[in-house]
Amino acid sequence: MTIQRVTGQDFTKTPIDKAPTPDLGYEMIPKERYISADYMRKEWDRLWTKVWLLGCREDDIPEPGDYHVTSIGPEEILIARQADGSVRAFYNVCLHRGNRIMVGQGHAESFKCRYHHWDYNVDGTFRDIPDRETFPQGAPPCSGLSEVRCDTWNSFVFFSLNPDVEPLLDYLDPLPAHLDPYHFDRMVKIMDVTVEWDCNWKTSVDAFNESYHVQGIHPELLYFLDDYDIQIDCYDRHSRYLVPFVTLSKRVRETTELPHLIKHAMQEAEMDPADFDGQAREVRRALQQWKREHGPRLGLDYSDLNDDQLTDDYHYLIFPNLTLNTHADDLMLFRQRPHPTDPDKMYFDMYLFRLLKAGEERPDPPRNATYKHGEISLGLVVDQDAYNLPGVQRGMHSNGLPGLWIGDQELRIRHFHKVLADYVGE
């Protein structure tokens, strides 16, 4: 049974057309990109300091004076809600001798360095320098904290260390048109966890850029999604694939009972699997129709989404390091950050957002919690990836591996490396 997909005749706001498949050849990907300290330094100079990066959610800092500290490589960035409702971002360092100013997230009337109490207004300007008369040379000639570019899109706050970076919406193009229909602002964060993984950040990005490994390390997903017949679209920087969920892989046979993950998806929509008499591969369409029909009764507004989006995973990579598993009812967002000094380590930020029902009170988002690998479960599927990746990273150092041998199912990895090389070079 071939997967049925929405077509040009059906309602959709998110573009569904297959993008032309880029001809990126079949050369090996150099493994040095994953293990070399030299390449890592080039990435800092030519990539991380040049692109737009995710900082936080707008609802992490709803009120003026709310702040959120995030980090990228060796830098920390202080993001703050302003009196006029706008958002600004600064290097989180005191202009005196460089001490870190703020930690974590919270609310402040001013940003005061704890070392000598140099104090800054929420807009970054100097507020107070104790014993100022002992600085005959005056205050530093800048007006205050060093500001970085900052902008918002679809409930997310982005920053860039590149003063000359193009506008955020231009950078994200064409994804805003794809993702705006999901209305992420209607979703609430229910998980915010950082785990240090023993692999390069790209080893992690790669793992989520192909579905080829589902048959390897996620066998339970063969009874929940089609891992083979998927649409891959590569754009200028970014890419996506559309993975049919709530169906069976072609690698497995129909069963008498519905697989537990498919039952779970039905139950989440208050559709009783005990009343469904069709086969497992027929559930996807039935659940789409059910959600279309019953969504309004359940207070869930799917009106801007096409039928496939009601079940499937529209899976996006926002270059370089954001993985979005986008669904009608939730968003599973991974941010993959490099370690400041070690190419064999990274920070895996996992965020879960859930669509609020109409009239449902918006709960306060959880605060970020940071762990080492193995200290916390991220759910079965991500745990399977997390368990696997250190072995991949270790193997990159082996003399037995000439480089990465990439197939068509991994086109997004090849495309990612093309964009990466455009920034960083070989």
Binding site: Y223, E257, K263
Partner: protein
């Protein structure tokens, strides 16, 4: 030993895969005509083609076991196509499920009532048969707690009691009724196959609990069922034959 099945007509509910499919295969191999139904159109078509290739008449339909009218119509159509009914294999099951009271309705309609409806429609033909027999597919899980509280186990017990009562009632008419109670059975498209792939640890632990360290193959269940339903088992009436490779430990004195 001759099973004396050649030239007889059998109806097998739920025969597109697994034990039901294998029952049909064994029957056809013995020269018995076979009718069956299932949900998967392709699988039913393949089953019919295979049985015909073994030199017997075969009839198949695609329908939902919950649809009582469709089950009844299929039984009548099978009798017409094959030229009567001698053997009924009440084999269809919806399988297990927990978390919704709907599973009670599901197993009642699909497991229990498909059997009752098929037997009712077949009865006029069985009464005219020279070797009439009904075989009900029970389960080891009706005699031993298994998996968890759910409709499947209870409805399998109800099927078994119904079969034994039928056996008493129909004996004077020469109609034999027996039950086969299989243990965990692994085949292509079985729930255990899904568990083996998707939840390998649960599968491994279930396999280890078997004295023979493996699950049944469907042919091992089907051969027993076909024998019990065949004229060769003429003195088996109201039997409930456990075929579980020693999985269950109870000694039924």
């Amino acid at each position: 030993m001759d099973l004396n099945l050649a030239g007889l007509n059998a109806v097998v509910t739920g025969g597109s895969r697994g034990i039901g499919r294998e029952i049909g295969r064994q029957l056809a191999g013995e020269g018995c005509n076979v009718a069956t139904f299932g949900r998967g159109e392709t699988a039913v078509r393949e089953a019919v083609a295979e049985y015909e290739s073994l030199g017997v008449r075969a009839y198949g339909a695609t329908l939902q076991g919950r649809d009582g009218d469709a089950v009844r119509a299929w039984t009548r159509a099978a009798a017409e196509t094959l030229g009567g009914i001698d053997l009924v294999f009440a084999n269809l099951s919806a399988g297990g499920g927990t978390g919704s009271p709907g599973y009670w309705r599901r197993n009642f309609e699909i497991d229990m009532m498909s059997a009752v409806r098929t037997v009712e429609e077949a009865m006029p033909f069985l009464e005219r048969s020279r070797a009439p027999s009904i075989l009900v597919m029970g389960s080891m899980a009706s005699a031993e707690t298994f998996v968890g509280p759910m409709a499947y186990n209870g409805i399998k017990a109800a099927l078994t009691i119904w079969a034994q009562q039928l056996a008493q009632q129909l004996a004077p008419k020469g109609i034999r009724v027996n039950v086969v109670s299989p243990g965990p059975t692994l085949y292509e498209g079985s729930n255990w196959e899904m568990i083996r792939i998707a939840r390998s640890r649960i599968f491994a632990s279930a396999e280890r609990r078997h004295p023979l360290k493996r699950m049944a193959r469907p042919d091992e269940i089907a051969r027993t069922a076909v024998f019990l339903a065949s004229p060769a088992a003429s003195w088996c009436q109201g039997a409930n034959l456990l075929v579980d490779g020693g999985y269950s430990k109870r000694v039924p004195f």
